[in-house]
Homo-oligomer: 80 residues x 2
């Protein structure tokens, strides 16, 4: 998956969609850490601020839990 800067959806929403898919599909297991913002910055042509904005979306959705100093982890219980 790649980001289209000229797509209808804003890049940060596109990235959120990509990462959400990786989580829901099970590509990244619950409790596992996802790539750091710096690593995502290398994988996608976006600034760290934009990366973080996408991650904030997923945190709001309850898919990710942050651990400052350690990283971002896939939530254990996305549903209840």
């Amino acid at each position: 998956m790649t980001i289209d800067p000229d797509g209808v959806k804003a890049p940060y929403r596109q990235l959120a969609d990509i990462l959400r898919e990786r989580i829901i599909s099970g590509e990244i297991q619950p409790g596992r850490r996802i790539p750091s913002q710096t690593e995502l910055e290398q994988e996608f042509p976006l600034s760290r601020n934009t990366i973080k904005k996408a991650l904030d979306v997923l945190k709001d959705e309850g898919l990710l839990v942050s651990a400052p100093g350690r990283g971002l982890f896939v939530a254990e219980q996305p549903d209840t």
Copy 2:
């Protein structure tokens, strides 16, 4: 204080007036940090751009000094 979107004065000018009053009245002491643009965004129904525009007015007036990465501070010497 609140912002009136339909007021005679543009919202960013209204906000500048409100914040100027807080500074001149001493509600926010010289050298002290003012609420971040994000916090002001929560307090007032304006976009960050508009918030910033109001703050730029106060910076131009010499009431505020910016410290990138830290915040905006009330100037020590509003006058000279």
